[in-house]
């Protein structure tokens, strides 16, 4: 049979005996072996452990035990999350090898208990910040749609692996857009849920008050399946919130009728740096949802540029607090872009950090008021499709507008999903933002859009060409 493209399809195929988890896992491991040297998605592949987990999942099916849709489903984890079956490097040489050794992060333990199969650990921007450094002894992430282009970051490896069909789903992290950026550039779906919805325990921190571990998959439906397992209070993470977790697939009715979609033209659509094709694709997606019964209204997100700045100030300050001892003694051991960006935190004063947190309170309240009048916001995810790596720099990252960090600052759920292709065949992406703890509505809108379009099901040609050759 043809390999399932989505978790949803694979879960159905496993249950009717069209494929076993071992067959699925072995096929993906073969794909990884052929494509990973070209794409640079995985740091480490845990083939033996994966096949053992797959065999265990098949044994459960055979004995009539079904732990839910993720049983037997292969996935990948960003190499900043602790896993029992492999060391954690954070894509660098600075992290103590003892960190994370011999135990699973809470999300990994939950996915394992649900019967999911861990294929390996994926490439990232070192410590989830900066840019890929070719001088480091790790694979260089390549965009599967055009190899010289950026796969974005920091969860680049998971993004590449999902887009190229090397895995059915994966884990990223997101402090200012690190799950949604790769989803945008590589052409799949990535959900940053509400801050506190998923335990961060067992993940190397970047910005303590902003970080999240997030599902990345081809579709909104698949991300909902993953979040169903990942979400929930964890006493090991004091930031998690003890609220009931709904079944996120229950809201996936395929309908947007009766929902109100806010479109913030100012800042998110009027920047001269916003790519015209991206703008047109996102507004066309809004039209699709309007035609499907949603009400569309123009709204304003106040102080959006300042919210981007506040998010970065908090991220730099919190990241610097964590890394300062290592930066002081091992600055040159970090990748060159990592140390350069992390040390920006030294330039901030204590008042700057507190002021950013005061702004955060204000911004959160403003967003709460805005969401009294709408159900979701729609923006572009990035200012354009994947950029050439040769044209990237930390200074450009600092200067360009960002459409993602505002939602880490406010803690709101935000999902990136494909909405078209550029004239040079690169994925374009829109972002849906929802109310705090209302991931269900974000999934509902994203899933309804994906039932009407097939952008999320497109696979980069390299993924099939190499396999045929």
């Amino acid at each position: 049979m043809e390999l399932p493209l989505t978790i949803q399809e694979a879960a159905a195929a496993l249950r009717v005996g069209q494929i076993t988890s071992v067959e699925l896992t072995r096929t993906l491991l073969d794909k990884i072996e052929k494509l990973n040297p070209i794409l640079g998605a995985f740091i480490c592949v845990t083939a033996d452990a994966a096949l053992a987990e797959a065999a265990a999942a098949d044994a459960l099916f055979a004995s009539g035990i079904d732990r839910g849709p993720l049983q037997g489903i292969p996935y990948a984890a960003k190499d900043i999350i602790a896993t029992q079956t492999a060391p954690t490097t954070a894509n660098g040489k600075v992290l103590d090898p003892a960190w994370g050794a011999g135990y699973n992060a809470t999300v990994i333990a939950k996915l394992r208990a649900a019967g999911a199969v861990l294929l390996g650990k994926t490439v990232l921007n070192e410590f989830a910040i900066g840019m890929p450094d070719p001088g480091m002894p790790f694979p260089m992430p390549q965009n599967p749609w055009d190899l010289p282009r950026s796969a974005a970051g920091s969860s680049s490896g998971t993004g590449i692996a999902v887009a190229a069909g090397l895995t059915l789903g994966g884990l990223g992290t997101d402090t200012g857009g690190s799950t949604r950026g790769p989803a945008s550039f590589n052409g799949h779906t990535g959900m940053k849920q509400t801050y506190g919805r998923v335990s961060k325990w067992g993940c190397v921190p970047l910005g303590y008050s902003l970080d999240g571990i997030n599902p990345m998959a081809r579709s909104a439906y698949d991300c909902a399946l993953m979040l169903n397992i990942m979400a929930g209070y964890d006493p090991k993470d004091p930031c998690t919130v003890d609220l009931p977790v709904p079944d996120y697939t229950a809201s996936l009715t395929g309908s947007v009728a009766g929902l109100t979609i806010g479109v913030p033209m100012k800042y998110f659509f009027d920047s001269p740096l916003l790519d015209e094709e991206t703008k047109a694709a996102v507004l066309a997606a809004v039209d699709v949802m309007k035609a499907a019964g949603a009400t569309v209204k123009e709204v304003e997100v106040p102080y959006a540029a300042e919210a981007k700045d506040a998010n970065m100030i908090i991220m730099w300050a919190e990241g610097f607090a964590y890394h300062r001892p290592d930066l002081a003694t091992q600055y040159g051991i970090y990748g060159k872009y990592t140390s350069e960006v992390l040390a920006r935190g030294a330039l901030l004063g204590s008042g700057d950090y507190v002021q950013a947190q005061r702004f955060r309170s204000f911004f959160r309240t403003e967003m709460k008021k805005l969401f009294e009048t709408i159900d979701v916001l729609v923006t572009p995810t990035s200012i354009g499709p994947a950029t050439l790596r040769a044209e990237m720099s930390p200074e450009k990252q600092l200067a360009n507008p960002s459409f993602t960090g505002q939602w880490n600052l406010a803690g709101l759920p935000a999902m990136a999903l494909p909405c078209g292709f550029s004239s040079n065949t690169l994925p374009l992406s829109m972002q849906l933002i929802g109310k705090a703890f209302d991931e269900a509505t974000v999934f509902q809108v994203g899933d309804a859009y994906q039932r009407l379009t097939d952008w999320h099901l497109q696979v980069p040609p390299i993924a099939t060409k190499v396999l045929i050759a």
Partner: protein, 60 residues
């Protein structure tokens, strides 16, 4: 602030942060510092947050 002032400030901040960097490394921070400082300063100019409480709340 002129450039020598900025360089002096940046060198002082990096040193206070425990960082001992080369001239080439320091130059990158000197180059971004005015923009960087302006973005932090801008948050002090928002009238609506003059009496706002910060987001982190400590619960004993």
């Amino acid at each position: 602030m002129n450039t020598p002032d900025i360089e002096m400030i940046v060198r002082g901040l990096l040193a206070a942060g425990g960082l001992s960097l080369t001239d080439e490394q320091v130059a990158k921070y000197v180059a971004i510092y005015p923009t960087f400082r302006a973005s932090a300063d801008r948050l002090f100019d928002i009238p609506e947050i003059r009496y706002e409480q910060p987001a982190p709340i400590f619960r004993a």
